[in-house]
């Protein structure tokens, strides 16, 4: 049985013992037999299972008036929402959940009406469930690597006793230190770890929490939250080798060894090379907070517009407007009919709800940081981008930042409205190396396409001297590189039609002229690329 499935099963059993205290489980897995086996095993959690779906609205969650039943029965008929009673909530496609749904679920977990939540997250690397929601669940389990033959049945759990197991006095300190070591800023991490340790003790029928419970809890809860890998690697022989030290080393062991053991347990669970070394980021809080930018920006729904007359079936009916339209006629229509307290609504009363739908703009900056766009020019290009950022701030646009140099491109900043982060990333952008223009464009097109899927309206802003010399495959050679770049530029024309090429070369080059032509974009030479000029050019290219 593989580690992955064993951990998943263990986490689920702990959750079954304390669903409200542990909040739930964030499951990263593709749909398939392995995930199905896990979903089947959810039955061991002593709560009724309720399936949600990512597009759920407030009515379905909190309940509300059942309009059809109300009209039919002529008395108010309420419908209970999913959050009304304690339940195990199961949210498939959690990576697509709207911010509204995520915030309602987060609140339901916070008020702890006995609900626990399972997020089924099928997202690829760039897409994941709302971090605010994930933070409120004790476990994150990844089943991507689990094979079908590793799957084993999950054993049921004993009924939890009423008394909570006793926690050794140094446990809080040890867990806090371990969390800080791995750059876990939110206190929910260590708190959940302590609760998981209690559940683990219960699972083994113990009345007190032992070090091994804490170590298992630290590994399950804290390892997925780690944002840093501590620098000083302790000898690998020490930690994992002795999880069976329980009986003789219990609450009275010295306080210094426990934190080390927890750190070792977490470290063992981390994949090598996945996280930055601690010494590269000084403050533990810094590293963690940067992870929160993965918020999925939902398309804003916009201001409600006045309702308009229309027929049923064409769109959403605005009940208020419909009733208002029907109201003046009630006395007249009732004439000649039996006395009745129903509202008489005719088709001509129906009014439709309308909203001003406005897509968010997304500016994707593609910055050439290669050696040929020499250092001084790079600084100027950065200056131009910064002034554009200020412009974007005023328009409430979202921005993304891609840079390319050396062998490939890098997405420095996924679409965000937090411009301070954009500026910070830009300032730290190093220069030098070859010019993989095609790779840069390809990365930018991916961002633009992802943005479009989320209802945004992307624009590419390419800052380069146009002298591509590294192809898509990362090898040198000017001819092939230019051909690749031109091919990508042609694709850009379809993916993000309104665009802008800013030529950063000291003298305007024919290459950028050609690229801009292929992209269907405007071209501007940097010496004149002041913020107002660029802003006007973007506005013009969008209008055109």
């Amino acid at each position: 049985m593989s580690e992955g499935w064993a951990d998943a099963a263990l986490a689920l059993r702990l959750l079954a013992l304390d669903p409200a205290g542990l909040g739930g489980l964030h499951l990263r897995a593709r749909a398939g037999p392995v995930r199905q086996a896990f979903e089947d095993a959810l039955a061991i959690v002593p709560l009724p299972l309720r399936r949600l779906h990512p597009g759920m609205g407030a009515d379905a969650l909190d309940g509300g008036l059942d309009v059809a039943a109300t009209l039919a029965e002529r008395r108010p008929v309420r419908r209970d929402g999913c959050l009304a009673a304690p339940a195990l909530l199961l949210l498939p496609m959690a990576e697509r959940a709207a911010p509204l749904l995520a915030s309602r679920l987060a609140r339901a977990l916070d008020t702890r009406r006995g609900a626990a939540l399972i997020l089924l997250d099928e997202g690829a690397e760039d897409e994941t469930a709302q971090s605010g929601l994930v933070d409120r669940l004790a476990f994150t389990i990844d089943l991507h690597a689990v094979r079908w033959q590793d799957v084993a049945p999950v054993a049921a759990v004993p009924d939890p006793p009423t008394a909570e197991p006793a926690m050794p006095p140094e446990a809080c300190r040890a867990m806090g230190l371990a969390a800080a070591t791995f750059g876990i800023a939110s206190p929910r991490g260590p708190l959940f770890a302590l609760r998981a340790a209690r559940a683990h003790a219960l699972l083994h029928g113990r009345a007190e929490v032992r070090d091994e419970d804490l170590a298992v809890a630290a590994r399950l809860v804290l390892a997925p939250r780690a944002t840093l890998r501590p620098v000083s690697e302790t000898p690998p022989s020490e930690p994992e080798a002795r999880p069976e030290q329980g009986p003789e080393r219990s609450a009275d062991t010295d306080g210094t060894a426990l934190p080390d053991r927890l750190v070792a347990a977490i470290r063992a669970a981390l994949p090598p090379g996945a996280l930055p070394q601690a010494d590269r980021h000084a403050a533990p809080g810094k590293g963690a907070s940067s992870g929160s930018g993965a918020r999925m920006p939902g398309q804003r729904r916009g201001r409600p517009l006045p309702a308009r007359a229309g027929r049923a079936g064409d769109g959403r009916i605005d009940l208020f407007a419909t009733l208002t339209a029907a109201a003046p006629w009630q006395a007249l229509r009732r004439r000649g009919m039996a006395p009745d307290d129903r509202v008489l609504i005719r088709p001509e009363d129906l009014r439709q709800r309308r909203h001003e739908d406005r897509a968010d703009r997304l500016l994707v900056f593609v910055v050439d940081a290669s050696g040929s766009a020499a250092v001084a020019r790079l600084a100027e290009a950065k200056g131009a981008v910064v002034s554009l950022l200020a412009e974007a701030y005023a328009h409430r646009d979202q921005v993304a930042l891609v840079s390319f140099r050396g062998a490939g491109a890098e997405l420095l900043l996924p679409p965000t409205r937090a411009l301070v982060r954009a500026k910070r990333q830009l300032a730290a952008l190093p220069g030098g190396g070859g010019t993989p223009l095609a790779s840069g464009l390809r990365a930018a097109l991916e961002v633009a396409a992802a943005g479009r899927r989320r209802g945004m309206d992307p624009t590419l802003v390419l800052l380069t001297d146009g002298r591509a010399n590294v192809g898509l495959d990362g090898t040198g050679g000017r001819g092939a590189a230019m051909a690749d770049a031109e091919a990508m530029a042609r694709q850009a024309r379809d993916a993000a039609p309104a665009g802008l090429v800013i030529d950063t070369a000291p003298r305007a080059t024919p290459e950028t002229e050609r690229l801009a032509g292929l992209m269907g974009a405007r071209r501007l030479a940097l010496p004149r690329a002041r913020a107002d000029a660029i802003g006007a050019a973007i506005a013009a290219s969008r209008a055109g």
Binding site: A58, S103, G285, S290, T324, Y393, R396
Partner: protein, 335 residues
């Protein structure tokens, strides 16, 4: 965070946030608190803890807007006014994605459908009257809802003119907004409508972090014992707030302090007069809280950053926090 109410006094550190909330409890005209910062720093815990700590209010039993007397009860409420009963200070959560109808109140759709009657169904603003309206992730709230809230918070009255209804009722509440700036910024026009703003960070001191865990864990394992242990501290804060409300009108504001306020705002280039007024009110509330009879520079220094830092005409990309700029100006003007 979760579970039973965490005592306000048991929150570790975060002194600025706690002080800001206490000051608005003393002087509701201060105009709301904005708390910006990392996740899990006790933002919502503090709001709920503060409301639990405040004394219960006396309100007409069947009044949806928590009126203090039968005369104040709005005339659209049907039925005879009930007796005065005490209820806890209301804390109303405003969820993201809430509709305008739900906030302001709207036509009562049940009665309209069933009886064909036009009646008003009060919204969240009514429920929050005389209490707190808490918006988590205020930076993600739709703009037109934020506009509406700030308008009502300023005027203290909710006016509904829609669907043939014309309804007004008192809506005086302390607006508490919180959010994480990394997930999106608040429009600058809205920033300065909040009275005071504070920035919270996860504590960097390891001992402080461990103390957070210890207290939180104590709450979860033994809620009664935890509450009993902190009740004394909470009661002390409650008494101090009540005493400060009494003293507030008597705090003397010498001419020199008014001058200091004006000079400080001028030095910082804070727009409008809202900065001076808030600074003065906050300093006055602080003096009342500390039992001082006269306003002095000490109080101005303490509250300057929370009253002014969000009002500076700032470069949105300026990273050197505006709190630091306020600190510099305070050091120069109040030298």
């Amino acid at each position: 965070m979760s579970g039973p109410v965490f005592s306000f006094s048991a929150i570790v550190g975060q002194d600025d946030m706690k002080l800001a909330m206490i000051l608005t409890a003393i002087e509701p005209r201060l105009g709301g608190v904005l708390v910006f910062g990392d996740r899990g720093t006790g933002k919502s815990t503090a709001v709920r803890g503060l409301a639990a700590l405040l004394p219960p209010i006396r309100a007409v039993a069947n009044c949806p807007v928590n009126s203090a007397s039968a005369q104040e009860r709005p005339d659209w409420v049907e039925g005879p006014a009930g007796r005065l009963t005490s209820r806890p200070t209301p804390v109303v959560d405003l969820p993201l994605g809430v509709s305008e109808d739900r906030v302001t109140g709207a036509l009562d759709i049940e009665r309209a459908l069933v009886k064909g009657e036009k009646a008003f169904q009060p919204g969240l603003l009514a429920a929050a009257n005389r209490g707190y309206l808490y918006i988590d992730e205020v930076n993600l709230l739709e703009d037109h809802i934020v506009d509406l809230l700030l308008d009502v918070a300023q005027s203290g009255e909710n006016l509904v003119e829609r669907e043939g209804l014309s309804i007004r009722h008192a809506a005086r509440f302390v607006l508490v907004g919180s959010g994480n700036p990394e997930e999106g910024e608040l429009r600058p026009q809205l920033l300065d409508r909040f009275g005071v703003s504070v920035e919270v960070r996860s504590p960097t001191d390891i001992e402080e972090r461990i103390e957070v865990l210890r207290r939180r864990d104590a709450l979860e394992t033994d809620p009664e014992g935890f509450a009993a242990r902190w009740r004394r501290h909470d009661l002390r804060v409650r008494r101090a707030i009540l005493a400060a409300r009494e003293r507030l009108r008597d705090v003397e504001a010498p001419e020199a302090v008014l001058r200091d306020c004006a000079e400080l705002c001028l030095a910082l280039g804070a727009d409008g007069l809202r900065g001076e007024l808030t600074l003065l009110r906050a300093a006055r509330a602080l003096a009342a809280y500390r039992g001082e009879a006269r306003l002095g520079r000490a109080q101005l220094r303490r509250v300057a950053a929370m009253a002014l830092s969000h009002r500076l005409r700032r470069d949105p990309l300026d990273e050197a926090g505006s709190a630091a700029r306020v600190g510099r100006a305070v050091a120069e003007v109040l030298a």
